[in-house]
């Protein structure tokens, strides 16, 4: 797999010597008996668009609120640009937040909402309103300044909230489910709009979301959270291709998970005994595994190829029957029942395929390359 080399300064997290811009050090937050965030440490670099991804109740919002200063960590410290935020109240932090509900002040006009942060800084009315007009222009709402928030559509309110949160040029912008309240089409457009604005201003963004597609599209890096713990941090591709745990593999995209036992390690190939897959599976050799150890294999549906005839070259081949076919336009999804009784999901792109497409109840061969079978120990 060859990819163009990108200079290290656009991906500073790849350089371990680099000092992160935001340092979260062993942060724990407990509400009574409930531990919302459990000993999280994380470094986020300047100019990143970092996504905290996880299901509801995983602690991602609590972590964001601690960065904004609305919650005090039970233990641990947060440093922004080298400065300890421990005793700094929310109104003195170099962060601004965009709320999930947008939290536009209902009794103020749009321009006053946007200018509010500057007015509180003591800027003159004229200058603050001039800057607010600039911000509104950036989010393409220049003619809406005199309206009240309730006279705007959901998408327009979202942009006002963004303009208001950005006007003080914060070092860090915190976004809590920024696109959650928008419909699907608008959400896709707005994703790229957010990236454009982030790149133009160079502000560090931290986004909380439960939507994995959103995280994959937006993020420079993703932190997957579960039960108050960060399971994995990485670039979207890394998280998708090399999940570290079953949870991450399952949470990001869809996956077929197999239980297997390490059988033998040949110099070029490792053999796993996988009864569900109907025998042995060959994977590339890996360090840190011992004979007899139980592991999990994650196999992405798009990495499996279906064919009527047994493919000669493939190292891993499974036999099964197509139970169900779903046509989704650009691709088809298959549910194949293996002869072992195990059901797997397979997706294939619908580009020009020769011959008759594979259909219900056909006997098929499902094959995949050794690298496609990701071995997980957690």
């Amino acid at each position: 797999m060859s990819e163009p080399q990108i200079a290290a300064d656009t991906r500073p997290w790849r350089d371990p010597a680099r000092q992160p811009f935001i340092e979260i050090r062993n942060i724990t937050k407990r509400f009574g008996d409930f531990t919302a965030v459990n000993d999280v440490s994380l470094g986020i670099h300047r100019g990143e668009l970092f996504c905290l991804l996880g299901g509801s109740g995983c602690g991602k919002s609590t972590l964001l609120r601690m960065l904004a200063g609305f919650e005090t960590p039970t233990e641990g410290a947060i440093l922004i640009d080298g400065q300890d935020m421990g005793r700094v109240p929310p109104d003195r932090r170099p962060t601004n937040m965009m709320f999930q509900s947008y939290a536009l002040f209902p009794h103020m006009t749009v321009e006053k909402n946007v200018a509010y942060g500057l007015l509180r800084e003591g800027m003159s009315r004229r200058e603050a309103y001039a800057r607010a007009a600039e911000m509104l222009k950036m989010v393409k709402l220049e003619s809406f300044g005199r309206r009240k928030p309730h006279q705007l559509s959901g998408g327009q309110r979202q942009r006002v909230a963004l303009a208001r949160a950005l006007i003080k040029q914060p070092k860090v912008l915190l976004l809590d489910e920024p696109l959650g309240a928008l419909d699907k089409k608008l959400r896709e457009e707005t994703q790229f709009e957010l990236i454009r604005i982030q790149e133009t201003l160079g502000v560090t963004f931290i986004v909380v979301t439960h939507d994995q597609d959103e995280a994959m599209t937006l993020a420079t890096r993703i932190g997957v959270m579960r039960d108050g713990v960060i399971e994995q941090v990485g670039e979207p591709r890394e998280i998708y291709e090399n999940p570290k745990s079953r949870f991450v593999a399952d949470f990001i995209g869809s996956v077929n998970l197999f239980e297997a036992t390490v059988e033998a390690a040949a110099p070029d190939m490792m053999r796993l005994a996988c009864p569900d897959a109907g025998g042995a599976v060959l994977v590339p050799p890996q360090t840190g595994l011992t004979r007899g150890q139980t592991v999990w294999g994650a196999l992405r549906p798009e990495r499996i190829t279906l064919s009527r005839d047994r493919p000669d070259s493939a190292r891993n081949v499974l036999r099964g029957t197509v139970e169900d076919v779903g046509y989704v336009g650009h691709m088809s999804t298959f549910r194949v029942v293996l002869d072992t009784g195990r059901m797997i999901r397979v997706t294939e792109p619908n580009n020009l395929r020769e011959g008759k497409p594979i259909s219900w109840d056909e006997r098929v061969w499902a094959s995949f390359r050794p690298e496609a079978f990701k071995v997980l120990t957690e």
């Binding site: 200063g69 109104d91 601004n96 709320f99 999930q100 209902p106 509010y116 509180r120 949160a165």
Partner: protein, 268 residues
Amino acid sequence: MTGRGWVLPMAVVFGFVFLYAPIISLVVFSFNESRLVTVWGGFSTRWYGELLRDRQILNAAWVSLKVAFWSANLAVIVGTLGAFVLVRMGRFFGRLLLTGMITAPLVMPEVITGLSLLLLFVSMELTLGWPAGRGLTTIIIAHTTFCAAFVAVIAQSRLRDMDESLEEAARDLGAGPVRVFFDITLPVITPALVSGWLLAFTLSLDDLVIASFVSGPGASTLPMVIFSKVRLGVSPDVNALATIIIGIVTIAVLIVGWMLRKQARAGR
């Protein structure tokens, strides 16, 4: 179906008669020429004229308006603070007690509220020397006490409905806690406070029992004067006065209702 056809209108008519017949008869008789309440002597506004010449009633009306104005103002301040503390300050020592106490005047019999306030004022005068005697001040304090309870209930429900992230957003944009209260919280709950003020004003204007306990010589409110007049026999100018009060109260209630509806719509 045919059954429902006449039962429902009947029920409505009966309900309206039950509620409004006494009031209507009072309004009608306030325009009665005759001195005898039970005899219709033709239409006249004579009693309204006579009312305007009655110094005692005019004085009492002025006292009542002053009391209602000041106790409504104070009740809005005290009630709002109480509601804010209960809704926004989280858990603190004595919170449950305060919750109970702030609504106690709503359910407490007026006689008990009046009596306990009287005892308080008397013992305060003995130990602190203030308030000196009973009069306008004590009535205002007493009315503030029970009106604040109503304001607190209204303000509490509005505060609970209010999106807390509005206040957080203002904090986030650089406003200190006090600034947030005046910039965001207060304007957002203002409609509730206005209706609370009007309610307090009306309640204060209506009150007879508590005022009777805590008033002193020279500070008789309108309900007190009317009550003592009626005990000596119903005089027609009281009808006229009652009609005017009904008019004022009706307008106030309509305004409160309209404001609450508007607020419900704005709060989506």
